[in-house]
């Protein structure tokens, strides 16, 4: 029950998806379509599970007055307010939920990611060294691409953007295609192992 049933479920669900590509007949495509609809619903619950876990851990810290417990209070309060606003009052444009999204969520997430610009510039200055032929090749390509992708490069050489585009379309593309094919082969074999029950690490504990 603990192992055999989940492995059987994974096998049925996975094989339906795979076979539906090769057999478009309704006897396969209809159940496959139903299973896909179910996967959408279950994944929605999984999302909520993740949030519930964050809440559980934060509540634990709050109860024990652990490290940074005041911040956990802020986290839980914000979580609760957003859920009450969203589920209770609706998510339409102009709602309080929408206001919170536009003026809390959007600026904070945008700013978090924009910090990376500073760190990448700092890393370029302090850490990137041409210690080998390969590293030199990497840095020279990076410099050419960085210059070629901005309009100012056309003032250095009129065909600079075209040369950059050639680098992207030829050597970069060839290597990326090699990575893609390798990853596809790896993904197919891992997927097949999971569906056939040879790979069971996803079952984890419990």
């Amino acid at each position: 029950m603990r192992t055999e049933v989940p492995v059987a479920i994974a096998f049925i669900a996975g094989m339906l998806m795979i076979v539906s590509l090769f057999v478009p007949h309704p006897v396969i495509s209809e159940p496959a379509s139903v299973v896909r609809g179910w996967a959408i619903i279950i994944t929605g619950f999984a999302y909520v599970l993740g949030v519930a876990n964050i809440a559980r851990i934060s509540l634990g810290v709050l109860r024990k007055r652990g490290k940074d417990w005041e911040y956990k209070f802020v986290l839980l309060a914000a979580l609760a307010v957003m859920i009450v606003l969203g589920i209770g009052l609706g998510i339409r444009s102009g709602s309080a939920f929408d206001w919170a999204y536009q003026n809390l969520y959007v600026p904070m997430q945008s700013t978090m990611f924009s910090l990376l610009a500073f760190f990448i510039a700092s890393a370029a200055y302090r850490a990137f060294r041409a210690r080998s032929v390969e590293a030199t090749l990497l840095l020279v390509t990076a410099a050419i691409v960085m210059l070629g992708r901005v309009p100012i490069s056309e003032h250095i050489w009129g065909r600079f953007p075209d040369f950059t585009e050639w680098i992207m379309e030829v050597p970069n593309m060839a290597a990326k295609r090699g990575i893609m094919i390798g990853a596809a082969l790896g993904g197919i074999s891992t997927g097949l192992k999971m569906v056939l029950g040879l790979e069971r690490s996803y079952l984890g504990g419990g």
């Binding site: 444009s93 370029a124 990137f128 210059l147 953007p161 970069n172």
Partner: protein, 279 residues
């Protein structure tokens, strides 16, 4: 002695407090934005490919616009969303928008609210926002089979039968093209893998610059009709349709920072070579 002093200065400069580097980067972005300087640029082939594909669509046909991004990628992808809507509405293309990322629909709606009135386009007749659906690849395939079952209501919770333009739609495949503005997974790659190749649908993409290099194999194979890469891609498209926006506005700042980063790399490596020679 003078040589050694100069070398020591260079070494000290190479170990400068990173907050000074942050300040330099800040100045490189802030000053061009304040001056409002703009630059013309040449158009790259992937951008032209997308432009030609959209330009060749028949007025009245449907396009599926996937707003698969979040606020973290907004500066790169929102200008793309805007400029694509400008082009699609100007060509009288009907737009069905949906998102596989939870934060996507409000941003897609914000873009619609900004652009649709300029062309007299009405919600439910010329465009619709179906909202978000969790499920990634499963949603893509489900939408390609039965759109109504996948999205029984739109972003505003309006039932399917109350949206006039959806009455002629059975599945995603009724659209002439899929244009995915995406920040990562799920995004353009998954649309190509699950829907484009399987059903032979044309896919156009707008991606963050981080994911752009991985898209070139799809361009060469013909699986991707065209591609906008990052803010520069948005700027090129703005220039193509003569609608300047944040893309063009940011290009001078972008240029300054890129030059500065290249200077950083060159300077740091020169110092590294000097130190290596001394040892």
């Amino acid at each position: 002695m003078a040589e050694k002093a100069k070398g020591d200065l260079l070494v000290r400069l190479s170990r400068i407090d990173r907050r000074i580097l942050f300040l330099i980067i800040f100045v490189c972005v802030a000053v061009p934005l304040l001056t409002g300087a703009k630059m013309k640029m040449s158009i790259t082939q992937p951008v032209k490919g997308l432009y030609d594909a959209i330009d060749g669509l028949q007025p009245g046909s449907y396009v599926w616009l996937a707003a698969d991004y979040d606020p973290g990628s907004m500066p790169e992808l929102y200008p793309m969303n805007i400029v694509l809507l400008d082009h699609l509405f100007a060509r009288n293309i009907k737009i069905i928008s949906a998102s596989l990322w939870a934060p996507g629909p409000p941003m897609a709606q914000r873009a619609f609210d900004a652009v649709a009135p300029k062309y007299g386009k009405q919600y439910g007749i010329d465009y619709v926002n179906l909202g978000f659906k969790e499920g990634r690849e499963a949603v893509m395939l489900s939408a390609a089979e039965d759109l109504r079952r996948t999205f029984p209501r739109d972003f505003f919770n309006t039932p399917w039968e109350s949206v006039p333009m959806l009455q002629d739609i059975r599945s995603l495949r009724d659209a002439k093209m899929i244009v995915s503005v995406s920040a990562g997974y799920p995004g353009v790659k998954e649309w190509i893998q699950q829907v484009g190749t399987r059903y032979g649908m044309r896919i156009g993409g707008g991606v963050t610059a981080v994911t752009a290099p991985e898209m070139y194999p799809y361009i060469q194979s013909g699986q991707l009709t065209g591609l906008l890469s990052g803010m520069k891609g948005a700027a090129e498209y703005e220039q193509l349709i003569a609608r300047p926006g944040l893309g063009i506005a940011g290009m001078v700042a972008q240029s300054c920072v890129h030059i500065m980063v290249v200077v950083f790399i060159i300077f740091a490596n020169v110092v590294y070579l000097i130190e290596k020679t001394r040892k």
